[in-house]
Amino acid sequence: MELSDFIRIAREEPALGFLVIGGYAVAAHGHTRATFDVDFLVRQAEREAWFARLTAAELARFAETPAFAQFTQPDGGDGLDLMFVDDSTFNRMRQASEERDFGGTLARVPYLDHLLALKLHVLKQALPHRTSKDADDVEMLIRRNGLDLKDVRYEELFLKYGTREIYEIFLRLLRTP
């Protein structure tokens, strides 16, 4: 199974709400890179429904926390990660989201600023094994979309979801000659 299969599973009746995040969403906003798992942002309120749905599809729940659940396939295909958020966050992100064509399968990805907020949220946690990848995603999303990091809107975004230090690092990284 891969992205299109996970989307199909989510849309079985009754459909479960999701936004594609992670590497595929980063690609949808202009930065293509290899990725070997699929990440969905989903409602906490549908947590058990997701677990039942994915278990029925023969995915194995590898581990979970209140904010996150990781599923694997017995045959070693793409993994599926679920990131749980409250209804308010999900609804606001869903409302601003954008539809993209993933090779013939339509699905929604977060609005660019919301995707940046997600990436900054992860960077702020300074998680081992992934900081460089997330930093590269942020840098490339800014470059590809021609964002002006000095705009107060982005400064506020970085300070709200990241830190002053992260903001200043990217200001230096993205400085123009």
């Binding site: 293509t32 070997f36 958020v85 409250d86 907020a117 998680l127």
Partner: protein
Amino acid sequence: MAPAKSTKSSSDSCGLRDAAPPSVDLNLPDPEGFRSLPPVVSLAKMIERNRQFRQWFPAGLPSAIERWQARVTEEFRL
């Protein structure tokens, strides 16, 4: 007179060790503000490439444990 170098490989010698190191004068582009960006491809092509990478280089794929170590720990709120 120095003994001639042997090209015959043996268990305690290595041709690479005897070879002159390659030049590092690569004349790489370095104009003011130069920044090489990765190529942009369609989402369909990206999915196809991911499929191929998975098939060609299975040993390099992240394990379930590695994915778990990279998980988000704090809940995201907008």
